[in-house]
């Protein structure tokens, strides 16, 4: 196992039922250190379920997860964050009426005595974290609802970077964004890559994924249908793969 060291996370034989729905039927999935994986597939393919197991939102009914070579149990989002797995859910990552600083430190507020928040540190650190991403916003006290869609994704990604995430999962980060904002978000992801953070990028849009990912995993109906390197395929090739896997009889 000489390659074992550079594998950050490995999921083996993951099964998940929701009542009678067999959502994941024994999926293997791995991400290397510093690697960006595009996870693609049609609606209901099981992408989100797989990722929610990794981020502690659901628990697998069967299967194992290894993180940095250690077998781990991820029972809650908190467990996942403690390992260094940060998830940026579409529309779910931020509290719209709270300020940027309060969002970035949500659940991990720096405190002084008696649990009182160190608001000065929160404000300064959030501006620094955003600047690291190349995002300059007027004030850390602005409510998130006043930001553009791209800026909001930036806040969520800055949060992940600030807390030294080893793996950032982006769940449909470009959905409902304008062309300019999509480019902004892809630039944030490139910044993550420069910082050697592993990224899982879930998307419907093959072209967005193709720009930044190094490897693609195609899912359909709870199964992994393909696992290809960027060099071995093209956006057209991927598109055909997704279509074909959706119609293959299981």
């Amino acid at each position: 196992m000489e390659a074992g060291n550079d594998i950050l996370v490995r999921m083996v034989g993951i099964h998940k039922w929701f009542g009678r729905v067999y959502a994941l039927r024994g999926v293997d999935f791995e991400v290397r250190r510093g690697e960006t994986v595009g996870l693609i597939g049609d609606n209901g393919a099981g992408k989100s379920t797989l990722i929610k197991i990794l981020s502690g939102y659901h628990q697998a009914d069967q299967g194992e997860i290894y993180f940095e070579g250690q077998k781990v149990k991820i029972r809650s989002p908190r467990d996942a964050r403690n390992l260094g797995i940060e998830t940026v859910y579409q529309e779910q990552a931020l509290a719209p009426n709270l300020s940027i600083a309060r969002n970035i430190f949500m659940g991990r507020e720096p405190v002084k005595k008696f649990g009182l928040m160190d608001r000065k540190a929160m404000d300064e650190e959030s501006m620094k974290a955003l600047a690291n991403l190349g995002l300059r916003l007027r004030s850390p006290e602005l409510p998130v609802v006043t930001l553009s869609g791209g800026e909001r994704q930036g806040v969520a990604i800055a949060r992940a970077l600030h807390f030294k995430a080893k793996l950032v999962i982006l769940d449909e980060p470009t959905v409902a964004l304008s062309v300019k904002e999509v480019e902004e978000v892809l630039e944030f992801v490139r910044q993550l890559q420069r910082e050697k953070v592993s990224v899982v990028f879930i998307t419907h849009n093959l072209y967005h994924a193709f720009d930044i990912a190094e490897r693609f995993v195609v899912m359909a109906r709870g199964l992994k249908m393909a696992d290809v390197k960027k060099e071995e395929t093209s956006p057209q090739g991927l598109s055909e793969l997704v279509l074909k896997s959706a119609f293959v009889a299981v």
């Binding site: 981020s55 989002p77 964050r81 779910q92 990552a93 509290a95 309060r102 949500m106 928040m117």
Partner: protein, 333 residues
């Protein structure tokens, strides 16, 4: 200078400022138009500050609960049931300290029960507390026979009794009713908790976007439970203060407070959807409701007008807050 101008603009556009302005206008109105300016008579102010504070203390807790996205319609019934517990323990001639502690703890437990039903069973708290509102009120009336019963702490004539009374119903500096002092103290404690403490950030996050809060590792169920318990504890506290003041138990106490408390929070700028509001606003909202109730009595306007005015104030304050929010959004752009 530009910084100053924007601070002024921010001040004028803040929700609390508009509530404060409305409150001041209402106070001036009552002061001018009440017969012989009786509204600002020290005796009336004392009544207003002591009586109004009882309701207002509970409204503070309800406001915080609403920020985390839940309702408590059972506050009046918890108050009545706690009063009944106080009465029964008092009749057993137990120590006043013990009675007060148990009364407040019972309030907290009823709050915990609301929380457990809401959080564990996933029932909307509007429904949960509608049920417990009827249940505890019904049980109180049933067990007490619906009668008023004397419960005169001052008749004990012990040092403990006089200590109890000065703690819950006394005056500070020969004028300020201690109830108002407690109202202010609770507002400050909850205000610090909400705005300065990390728990406050969890309350806002839970109310604003529960999924995000959970994904960030916040135990939203626990946050809600704590908020419900705080409301219950405050009800227990007020039960002690009210019995001390009235020297009797009545099973109808706190009737209608549940919606008045919601109204106070909304007037103070709290969103019905959670995630928005602040303690100073809730403080002012609760005071506004008390002032209107008292002022209309002093104006000798028939009591039935009270709710007509409440309705108007609520609608006007919600409309003005929508206007302010829109202006704020424009400012940020």
């Amino acid at each position: 200078m530009q910084g100053n101008a924007s601070y002024l603009k921010r001040f004028l556009l803040s929700r609390s400022t508009s509530v404060l302005l409305v409150l001041i206008l209402i106070v001036i109105f009552f002061a001018v138009f009440s017969p012989e300016h009786r509204f600002v008579d020290p005796d009336n102010l004392r009544v207003l500050l002591s009586l109004g504070a009882e309701f207002s203390i509970i409204a503070l807790g309800v406001g915080m609960l609403m920020i985390c996205g839940e309702f408590d319609l059972s506050v009046g019934s918890i108050l009545a049931f706690c009063s009944f517990i106080f009465l029964k323990l008092f009749e057993l001639h137990l120590s006043l300290l013990f009675i007060a502690v148990i009364t407040i703890v019972v309030g907290g437990l009823l709050g915990l029960l609301n929380a457990l039903i809401t959080v564990r069973a996933g029932i909307p708290s509007f429904i949960t507390t509608l049920g417990t509102m009827m249940f505890w009120r019904g049980l109180t009336i049933l067990l007490s026979g619906g009668e008023q019963t004397a419960c005169d702490v001052s008749a004990l004539n012990t040092p403990a009794a006089s200590y109890f009374l000065s703690f819950f119903t006394g005056q500070i500096g020969k004028f300020l009713p201690v109830q108002f002092f407690w109202f202010a103290i609770f507002a400050i404690i909850l205000g610090v908790l909400l705005h300065r403490h990390r728990f406050g950030n969890w309350v806002y996050a839970t109310g604003d976007n529960k999924d995000a809060a959970r994904a960030m590792g916040i135990n939203t169920d626990w946050v809600k439970t704590v908020c419900f318990i705080v409301v219950g504890l405050l009800c227990g506290f007020v039960a002690c203060a009210q019995i001390g003041r009235l020297a009797c138990f009545t099973s109808r106490t706190g009737d209608g407070w549940e919606l008045k408390a919601v109204a106070a929070s909304v007037v103070g700028g709290t969103s019905l959807r959670g995630g928005m509001g602040n303690m100073f606003g809730i403080f002012l909202g609760a005071t506004t409701i008390s002032v209107i109730e008292n002022g209309l009595v002093v104006l000798r306007i028939p009591y039935f007008w009270t709710y007509v005015f409440f309705g108007l104030v609520i609608l006007l304050s919600v409309l003005s807050s929508m206007y302010i929010e829109r202006k704020q959004m424009e400012m940020h752009r």
